[in-house]
């Protein structure tokens, strides 16, 4: 490899240009000529390589720019409008939202009362609103029980985000257990069997069934 024979001969300038290109690309911060020289094989001339590289990128979508006494790749200023998506700030969903989402996914179609029953706490208005707004949850059919409560189901966008082909592909409790996500501590009072069919049966019936 180039590093070996460099004792005697520096790599050709085209090769040096490739090296500078790769280093600047991968570096998290602008890199000085001295730092380049340190990292490249002995005898290289990073300043010259930089000059070639800069010319190569003239007029391209990214440009080689000088930042203080260091160098970095930057998006061409006229294309800044394309970068809007890069400024997206990602935040983790709240625990309440995640839990609610999980219950909708596993128990759909599910009513608000059932979600509260399973979580054991009242559902704040903002939680479901957030999931609706994210388009991960939508309204399903009304339940044909007194009061005809609305139900919630998950959306295609939900499946896309979580890389699932269908809600039926959600791992069941036994899979969670096998993957180490669930303690295999048996549930008390003969519920051990009931939890295996968790994907299908609504949770609250299990709590009281024989």
């Amino acid at each position: 490899m180039t590093a070996e024979k460099s004792l005697f001969e520096a790599p050709p300038i085209a090769e040096q240009e490739r090296m500078v290109e790769a280093i600047l690309f991968a570096s998290a911060e602008p890199v000085t000529v001295a730092q380049l020289a340190e990292r490249m094989p002995h005898g290289c001339d990073p300043a010259e390589a930089l000059a070639y590289l800069r010319r190569r990128y003239e007029g391209r979508g990214v440009r080689l720019v000088r930042v203080g006494d260091a160098w970095a790749f930057r998006t061409a200023p006229d294309l800044g409008f394309l970068m809007q998506k890069e400024t997206v700030e990602q935040r983790k969903l709240s625990r309440a939202a995640i839990e609610t989402l999980a219950i909708v996914a596993y128990h759909q179609p599910v009513t608000r009362a059932e979600i509260e029953e399973i979580r054991g706490v009242a559902l704040s208005r903002g939680t479901i609103d957030k999931l609706l707004e994210l388009e991960w949850v939508r309204f399903g059919r009304r339940r044909m029980t007194p009061g005809r409560p609305v139900t919630y189901v998950v959306t295609q966008a939900f499946l896309d985000h979580f890389g699932l082909e269908s809600a039926r592909d959600l791992p069941g409790l036994k899979d969670l257990r096998a993957a180490g996500l669930l303690d295999s501590r048996p549930l008390p009072g003969g519920l051990a069997g009931a939890d295996e069919e968790g994907e299908d049966a609504p949770g609250q019936t299990e709590l009281f069934e024989d």
């Binding site: 970095a72 997206v88 969903l93 995640i98 979580f162």
Partner: protein
Amino acid sequence: MAEPDLFEAASVSDRLQAEALIVDVDGFEGPLDLLLTLSRSQKVDLRRISVLQLAEQYLRFVEQAKALRIELAADYLVMAAWLAFLKSRLLLPPDPTEAGPSAEDMAAHLAFQLERLQAMREAAARLMARDRLGRDIFARGVSEEVMRVRRVTWTASLLDLMQAYARIRTRDEFRPYAFDRVNVYTMEQALERLRDLIGFAGDWSDIASFLPEGWCADPARRRSATAATFAAALELAKQGQIELRQSETFAPIALRRRDG
């Protein structure tokens, strides 16, 4: 069986190797892995392996482990039993009346399994030897920080989702007690009912006969009513109003009014 094998190996180094194999039994990822290692001593293509010879090598391995008082996990012993069975089937002439796969089919399948495991090992090695991101190949060091629009997206991974669900489902046994008013018969109700009824219970009567109407069909409701009635009966016995009797453990409990 004239061929030299691992445990009759003449040279010292071979013998040391054999012992190392025994002592290192924990280093094997199960019986199939061990069989694959043993098969290497045959120095032939896995397709031409002698399964009979391999079975003998394995059985000898197990015997040696026993002699050295090394505990083998159950699956090694299951494999040993199966190989002993296979070996006897391979040595005996086929029994035409016996149903099921022939010894040759079984041997061929074992050879297939070994070959497949070996192939996966090699594939894994080739995979891990590839130029890898973060080691040989690198992504952009900085994502562009053009901050024009700050849009917040909310994210969660499938793992978060599953962990949340697992958390909820395992929390069930610890959740705050939610009172079920429809299907729970309280001790106060049971006390009231018993007090009204014991006037008629001059003779021993099964406690079950005191259950309220409409609480016997549904198991959950019956259970609740039974528990409440039993507790109420204990309370009344404590107050000296009734007597309780049970002939043996789990036998029906009977009560009667206590006179005087």
